[in-house]
Symmetry: C2
């Protein structure tokens, strides 16, 4: 009888082990937990740590001490927090780490933040809603200098069904140290478009998100030392990177996309936009390739008047032509963005030169919370 | 003259700032750096840390002390390391963190490891090579209990061009705490298939990678507390999750895929496979739905003889029929896997019941290095 019970127990144990296929561990941590009152409870398992702080400065919770329970789980409830998507981490005995209980990570080459979404009372334009959804596709393509490039592509709802329909294309470039994943995983451009298309507010379009730093990729693939790197402060080096990006986009990415997706391949149906370094790449690529793009969106970036005077008189010398060429030239910036001053100076420069530029300034810094608002403003006016 | 120089300097500074659009930071860390002799140099910036260890036990470098340079960068060179893709992290004053200089992360719900690939002398079957590439697509679909599901889909090279061709489908389910991204980002099933298709070794196929834990997703979307959780050790609860997964796959995922992709929608052109918990889900789903799948692959998983006797006499009572039904029943395991004993017992049980099972045992543990070898064995024999 005792032996039988033992066998039964062993049987049950093996059974459960196979269902889960991992050895037992410590207490289960659920983090972050967004509460109905929009406070958020963050938790982190670290029985042996001396201090654990919540590192959430973008929602006003910079270095908030957390408290430890008997089972070694540190936690803190903060807020209510204004609905949005924010990066955060923990400082464990002085070391910044992401949240191991959370799969929602910020794709970035320099920092590894976790992300938390605080839902709004009525769903935000970037929220996952019960509407027809487009798809996100990861492609490899033959890129510059024999390298293999990576690009992420949004196709709108119905793309797989309406197999004769062709679409305009928005080329969208993320910022320094971001990756080709950032515009959808953090910027939510796919869900914003799903919702806008469902509401009839935006035209169905394809969005193409390339990786912004092909020089680093080439170095990696050729086994050369990775150039040290995205943060180089050498102006010449930075311009060389910019030209390489432009060559990749114009001679490799666009032909690949137009061969493999159902696009309308002309300038009136191509837009280009980007954030931060991607905004700088956007403006230079658009100004160097007027035959390629009719819509241009700069999210928190600019070109200095000095560089404009030196390199882009093709844009400023004939404002009537420029204003006809660009069906949209758009510039958005946060008033607390560290590039606010430069951006507004550039906007003033353009206006003085009689170039039509649609400007947009809102509170906020150089953040992806702001980028979602720039998307919200610009996506409805593309290709119209 | 001095004023002019100052203005020039300011101009240059603003220019470079905009190109990079981030304020200056500490020294640039390149990590990991794979050296030509297959040693790897890992680096981590932490000027104030007391001890930093390399946490790379899967390549024989568990808790190796790193040394600090004058600029606060800790580093260590280890190896040579056998070519493969390995997870690793750092232990900074006792806290495990991933590598902030590395975008290649292990998608997982519990731990956040970084990944390093040590290339083989002649490219491994999972290496990015200069061959035609398929695409990876992230889709949303209407899932069980009104939730919105996420699924990742591989389409083979040429899928977008040969628009009349239809393909067989491999449903591939990742392990406990893995996500729907793990089979391509860590398992490299897309690159393995690209290479095998280029070599004529595997049939062009679609691979569908669902998320394995719909109960957690439903809880998240309905605002219920996330059940605590994937590590529940309650057998009843685990079986309930298993049934929910099965309902999601059979009644939601498969119809969605067959509506939106060019599939051959019959059992002879459907395979199912999975690793760890995903292997358990594979076997139970296949045995409960004999009309749906002709090819079944279990990667490091099994069903206990007790459960087989209780729940799956439909499989064991008529071996002739079962052996005709399943064109492939495949079981692979590592000899150091903690599920090795259970798996081999299950294989012996099947053989005793005269069920044809193709078995495969290799050195190694319950790891994704082994999973790539299981893929390497099984992908060439599917749909043949």
């Amino acid at each position: 009888m005792k032996i039988k019970s033992l066998f039964l127990l062993i049987g049950l144990f093996v059974h459960v082990l196979v269902l889960h296929a991992q050895p037992p561990r410590g207490p289960i941590v659920v983090s972050p937990k967004v509460n109905p009152d929009k406070t958020v409870t963050f938790s982190y398992l670290a029985p042996n740590a001396t201090t654990v702080l919540l590192d959430g400065n973008q929602f006003g919770s910079a270095n908030v001490p957390m408290t430890k329970s008997e089972d070694g789980v540190w936690s803190i409830t903060v807020g209510p927090i204004k609905p949005d998507i924010y990066p955060y981490g923990f400082k464990v005995d002085g070391v910044t780490v992401n949240d191991p209980a959370n799969t929602y990570l910020f794709p970035n080459e320099r920092f590894k933040g976790s992300l938390v979404e605080i839902p709004a009372d009525s769903p935000a334009i970037y929220a996952l809603q019960n509407v027809p959804h487009g798809s996100i596709t990861y492609d490899y393509y033959p890129s510059v200098e024999g390298s293999t490039g990576t690009v992420v592509v949004y196709t709108p709802p119905g793309y797989n069904q309406e197999t004769a329909k062709k679409y305009p294309v928005y080329y969208l470039i993320s910022g320094t140290t971001d990756t080709e994943e950032t515009f959808w995983k953090v910027g939510k451009v796919n869900l914003i478009l799903d919702n806008m298309i469902a509401q009839g507010k935006a035209k169905p379009m394809i969005v193409v998100m390339p990786y912004g730093n092909p020089l680093a990729r080439i170095a990696e693939q050729t086994g050369k030392d990775k150039p040290s790197d995205v943060m180089s402060r050498d102006g010449e080096e930075a311009l060389k990177r910019m030209k390489l990006f432009e060559a990749d986009l114009i001679t490799k990415v666009i032909p690949y996309i137009e061969k493999n997706y159902r696009t309308i391949p002309n300038r009136d149906n191509r837009a280009i936009g980007g954030f931060s370094r991607g905004g700088g790449q956007t403006l230079r690529t658009a100004f160097n390739n007027i035959d390629k793009f009719a819509y241009v969106c700069s999210y928190a970036s600019y070109i200095s008047p000095t560089e404009m005077d030196k390199s882009f008189t093709n844009i400023t010398s004939n404002p009537t032509k420029t204003n006809k060429d660009f069906r949209l030239l758009w510039s958005g910036i946060g008033t607390e963005d560290f590039l606010y001053k430069g951006t507004t100076e550039w906007e003033a420069y353009l206006k003085e030169k009689k170039i039509n530029v649609k400007t947009y300034a809102i509170p906020g810094g150089h953040t992806w919370m702001n980028v979602k608002q720039y998307l919200n403003e610009t996506l409805p006016i593309l290709f119209k």
